[in-house]
Symmetry: C2
Subunit: 140 residues, 2 copies
């Protein structure tokens, strides 16, 4: 198995609401007319929004209805950019559950949940390198 992820699908209760949230953060779907699954090209991979009940069925999973042990993160270039992105997420209707602060591992981060409760940590990690195309490289 190659050491990579091709696609992350986020199950959502209300596709137009979820799409509007990510669009408010500046994301653009690959197909502007999509109304069943919304795909976003995200660097080397794809992020999708799809009906949560259909995703549960397709994934052969019983839906807990809550959080299931996966958290996403976006790394940015500075603590100030962490705070700015958390504010952007709040303005878009996200739920900032942890404000930006220094972390135990020597970085700076905060966390918001999207309208479906999916958590995104926003982090500045001085030990990892962000490349010009937005990739993150462990150890710099």
């Amino acid at each position: 198995m190659e050491q990579r992820v091709s696609l992350i699908t986020l199950g959502v209760a209300d596709l137009p609401r979820a799409r509007a949230f990510y669009e408010a953060l500046g994301w653009s779907p690959a197909d502007p007319d999509a109304d069943d699954v919304v795909f976003f090209q995200a660097g080397c991979m794809v992020v999708a929004l799809w009906d949560r009940a259909l995703l549960a069925e397709d994934s052969a999973m019983t839906d807990s209805g809550g959080w299931g042990g996966m958290t996403l993160a976006q790394n940015v270039g500075s603590p100030e950019q962490v705070d700015a992105l958390l504010e952007q997420a709040r303005a878009a209707g996200g739920d900032v559950r942890r404000s930006g602060a220094k972390t135990f591992w020597g970085g700076y981060s905060g966390l918001f949940a999207d309208p479906d409760g999916h958590p995104w940590e926003v982090a500045h990690n001085p030990f990892w390198r962000l490349t010009d195309d937005g990739s993150v490289v462990i150890g710099g």
Copy 2:
């Protein structure tokens, strides 16, 4: 917010077991000596394994204990490669919950759960392009 994901963290109940599973699939951690968080460089992003209770706390989430509406996928080059990877996952201790079969969207896929129940779809999508470095591109 840039249209990308830097990190996916998978909450796990038993870190050595989870690490051994991904290593059996051919993955190599960035730091072979890591014993608290295991990071895998995965193309433009990073996949991490971390204690699920600590991840829940860090993510400001209440843990449902089950699946929470996120599913990962790895795209491969052919239906035969889907079947081969599902067999590899089964041999490594994964739970193949959906065998390889044609899908409603015109591709071919199956699905396994890792030892912590995190679902991975394995898919051949003839409408997306896989590049030499393993990236996936919507629409080819």
